[in-house]
Amino acid sequence: AATPIKIGVAGAHSGDLASYGLPTLKGAQLVVKDVNAKGGVKGSPIELVLVDDQCKPEAAANLATKLVSDGVKAVVGHICSGPTKAALPIYRDAKIVAIAPSATTPELTQSGEYKLFFRTIASDDRQARTMVDFILNKLAAKKVAILHDKGDYGLGLANYSKQFIEESKQAEVVLFEGITVGQVDFSAVIQKIKRSNADVVIFGGYHPEASKLVSQMRKKRINTTFVSDDGIKDEAFIKVAGKDAEGVYATGPTDTSQNPITLEYREKFKKLEGTDPGSFFDNGVAATLAIINALEKAKSFDAEDVAAALRSEKVDTPFGEISFDEHGDPVGIGFNMFVVKDGHYHTAE
C-alpha cells in the first residue's frame, strides 16, 4: 500500500481545556475516516498524528518538533492562541502548513510572519467589529460595560471592542474589567455593572464564566443586555445557564446548521458520542476538509504548493464554500449575531 500521508492534530485533548480541543480532534478523525474510505489523497491514506498540548505554550513547542520529526505534511491546530504562537516558528522553519480551527489572535495572520499559517475562524478584530456594530446600530447602546476573562482571547476581544466603540463616538465605555476565571462568586463585579448604569454588557471569554455572570446578574434582577462572543455560542452555554440564557447575544459564524456538510458531521458525531459536538467542531471539520482538499489539489506536498492551493482552491465546508486570503484568514465564513430564544440560538435581526 502507499505510504500514508501524515497530518498532525494538535490541541488540548486532556485536562480542563479539553472541551475546546476534543471536538476538533473528533471532527478531524471523522473527516479522515471518510477520506480514507474513498481512497485517501492521491492514492495515499491519511494518518493522523495526535498531540496534546493542553493549551500550554511550552508543550506546544515541544510537540511541534515532534510533529516535525514525525514528518507530518500539515497540522490541524493548535486550539489556543498562545500555543499556536509558540509552535508557528517551528512549523515555519520546518516548512509545514498549519491550519488552526480556533486560534483567533489577529497578529497570527496579520503580522505577515507566518505565510504557511491559515485558520478557519475569524480573527478577534473581525468578531469585535461585528459585536460593536450590532450593539451600536441594532441595540442603540449608549453606555457599554466591557468585561473579559483576562485570557488571550477574551482580553483581545474586549480591547478591540473598546477601541471600536471609542472610535465610533456613538457610545461610551463605562466599565472595563477583567474577571477571575474559576471565581466562586461574581456579585461584586455585578454590583459594579449595576452602578455603571450600562445598557449593554460585552463579555469576552468562554461560556462557563459567561453563564455564571449571567445567572448571578439575573438573580440580582439586573437585566442589562448581555452580549458575548463565539466562546459562548455553544449549546452548552444555554444548557448550563438555563432560562437565564434567554435574550443573551453571541457572535458566531453565520448560521449554517442547515448546510448538508454541517448536518452530516454533526449527525456522525452524535452517533459516535451520544452528545452534541461542542464548540469549534465545525471549525475543526472545516480545517481538516480544507487541508485535505489542498493536499489533493496542490502540485506537490511541498508546503508552498499546499499553501498556494489553500489560497486559490475553494472548498466546501460546514461554513459553505470558503477559501483563504493572502494572510491566511478565511474568506467566506460570515459573521453574525445570534440571540438565545426558547433555548436555542437564532440569528438576531
Partner: protein
C-alpha cells in the same frame, strides 16, 4: 451607601463560601500540620455526589426539599468516606516521614481525584440544579442578598459555633488539640490518635460536602476543577486567620472576601487577587501567626 452595603454583602457571601472550605483545611492542618491540597477535591466530590443523587432522585419525581436533604446527606456521607480513605491511603503511612513528603502525597492525591472525577463523569461544566428554593420574602433585598447567599451565611455561622464548642469542650475536641501538639504524648495519656485523626478528616470532609452543595447551588454549575481554585483561596483565608484556629478560618475568610469585594468595587477586579495576597502579606508581617493564630510558643 447602598453600593457600599451591596459590596459588604457580596464580600460576606464570598467570605462564607471560602469559610466552609477553609474550616476543613484548618482542622486538618491543625491536627497533622499538613496542607491538605486534596481538600478542595473533597469539596468537589461533595458537589458531584449531590448533583448525581439529585438528578437521579429528580427522575423519580421526589419533591424539592426531600431532594435537597437526601442529596446533602449523600454528599456528606461520600465526602466523609473519601476524606477518610484519602487519609488512610495517602497520609497515614507517611506519619513520621520528612515534613514535605505528605505535602507531595497530597498534591498527587489532588491531581488523582480531579482526573478520576473527570474520567468518571465529564470534563465539561454541568448545570447544578437550584436545590435551594427562593424565599419570596427576600425579594425586596435580592439586589443585596439572595436566598442562597443567606443560606451560606447562616450555615457558616452555625457550623463555626458548633465546631468551636466541640473543640473547646468535648472530649474529642480536647483529644484533637492534644494530638495536634504532641502526638506521642497524646498516645501516652490515652488518646487514640488514629481515631482522632480520622474523625478530624471526616468532620472536615463533611463540612466540605456541605460547602459543595451550597456553593454549587450558588454558582449553578460545577466541573472537576472547581475544587482546586476554591481550595487555594480557602487555604489563604485559613492562613490569614491563623491556621489551626476555627474562628480564625472564618474571620480570615470574611476578611479575604470583603477585601476582594471592595477591591473589585472601588478599584478593579482585574487585580482582586493581587489585593487579596498583598493583604495576606501585610497582615502576616504584623501578625506572623495570622489574625487569631497564637504565635507558636518557643521557650528556649
Amino acid at each position: 451607601m447602598e453600593y457600599f452595603l451591596e459590596l459588604v454583602f457580596s464580600g460576606l457571601t464570598r467570605g462564607s463560601i471560602y469559610a466552609l472550605i477553609a474550616l476543613g483545611y484548618t482542622m486538618v492542618y491543625g491536627i497533622i500540620g499538613l496542607i491538605n491540597f486534596a481538600h478542595g477535591e473533597i469539596y468537589m466530590i461533595g458537589a458531584f455526589t449531590a448533583l448525581i443523587i439529585a438528578t437521579v432522585l429528580n427522575m423519580y419525581g421526589l419533591p424539592l426539599p426531600a431532594i435537597l436533604i437526601l442529596a446533602s446527606v449523600a454528599a456528606i456521607i461520600w465526602s466523609a468516606a473519601y476524606g477518610f480513605t484519602v487519609e488512610r491511603l495517602a497520609y497515614r503511612p507517611l506519619r513520621g516521614a520528612p515534613r514535605l513528603s505528605p505535602l507531595i502525597s497530597a498534591i498527587g492525591m489532588s491531581i488523582f481525584l480531579q482526573n478520576y472525577v473527570m474520567l468518571a463523569q465529564t470534563p465539561n461544566f454541568l448545570p447544578f440544579p437550584a436545590l435551594i428554593p427562593d424565599l419570596p420574602f427576600l425579594n425586596r433585598f435580592t439586589s443585596m442578598v439572595g436566598t442562597t447567599d443567606l443560606a451560606i451565611l447562616l450555615v457558616t455561622a452555625i457550623v463555626m459555633i458548633l465546631l468551636t464548642l466541640m473543640i473547646k469542650f468535648t472530649r474529642t475536641g480536647k483529644a484533637m488539640r492534644a494530638t495536634s501538639q504532641d502526638r506521642t504524648m497524646a498516645f501516652l495519656v490515652g488518646v487514640n490518635v488514629d481515631t482522632v485523626i480520622s474523625v478530624t478528616f471526616i468532620t472536615g470532609s463533611s463540612l466540605a460536602a456541605i460547602g459543595g452543595v451550597l456553593i454549587a447551588s450558588h454558582i449553578g454549575q460545577i466541573n472537576f476543577y472547581i475544587g482546586f481554585i476554591a481550595g487555594i483561596k480557602a487555604f489563604t483565608a485559613a492562613v490569614l486567620g491563623g491556621i489551626g484556629s476555627i474562628p480564625g478560618a472564618v474571620l480570615g475568610s470574611f476578611v479575604l472576601g470583603l477585601t476582594e469585594s471592595f477591591a473589585t468595587g472601588y478599584v478593579s477586579s482585574a487585580y482582586e487577587d493581587v489585593f487579596a495576597f498583598s493583604l495576606l502579606v501585610l497582615i502576616l508581617i504584623f501578625r506572623p501567626a495570622g489574625l487569631l493564630g497564637r504565635a507558636t510558643i518557643e521557650k528556649v
